[in-house]
Amino acid sequence: AQSVAQPEDQVNVAEGNPLTVKCTYSVSGNPYLFWYVQYPNRGLQFLLKYITGDNLVKGSYGFEAEFNKSQTSFHLKKPSALVSDSALYFCAVRDGGQNFVFGPGTRLSVLP
């Protein structure tokens, strides 16, 4: 069965600095990987996905993610953090069917 780990409960970064939110996964077969963001009292919003192809995936709001097959990782990155990026971030993996499994989430705080 597939699984997702997000090793950090909380990430703090100063505004303007680069940010990284980590994700590792376990799945049989080729992984389909996703990042979502959740703001307070809202549902999850899709940021980006990796299916095949380039290991660096670009998504919404200046976010990107780097897929590393040997390390089974899919870390979310942004070159310059904004205070408005403060939210809860979820990594998800989908198997060959349509089952999505979500990680426990990482709370990102961008400090002004």
Binding site: N41, R42, G43, L44, F100, G105
Partner: protein, 114 residues
């Protein structure tokens, strides 16, 4: 395109009462999911529909939870009787069949059981 609609946004009930949540997915999305998100955790799948058929309900506590999607569009999720540990946000999501489409989520229903 209109997003996934859910109602109500908030619900407070006492334990042993019943409650129902409603979801209207994005038009044309054949696959519909109900997730439970307990505070501080990631969403956990309760049930997945494709059109009006159940694809996966292995994690649905069937002694108290039920869900239906009779016409392959709207869906309702019911809890009867509710327990304190059912306090959570219930998220509905939809996606087209196949391909590599992401899930589209509604804003959820926050349930508090007292």
């Amino acid at each position: 395109e209109a997003g996934v609609a859910q109602s109500p946004r908030y619900k407070i009930i006492e334990k042993r009462q019943s409650v129902a949540f409603w979801c209207n997915p994005i038009s044309g999305h054949a696959t519909l999911y109900w997730y439970q998100q307990i505070l501080g955790q990631g969403p956990k799948l309760l049930i997945q529909f494709q059109n009006n058929g159940v694809v996966d309900d292995s994690q649905l506590p069937k002694d108290r939870f039920s869900a239906e999607r009779l016409k392959g569009v709207d869906s309702t999720l019911k809890i009867q009787p509710a327990k304190l540990e059912d306090s959570a946000v219930y998220l509905c999501a939809s996606s087209p069949i196949g391909g590599n489409s992401p899930l589209h989520f509604g804003n959820g229903t926050r349930l508090t059981v007292t």
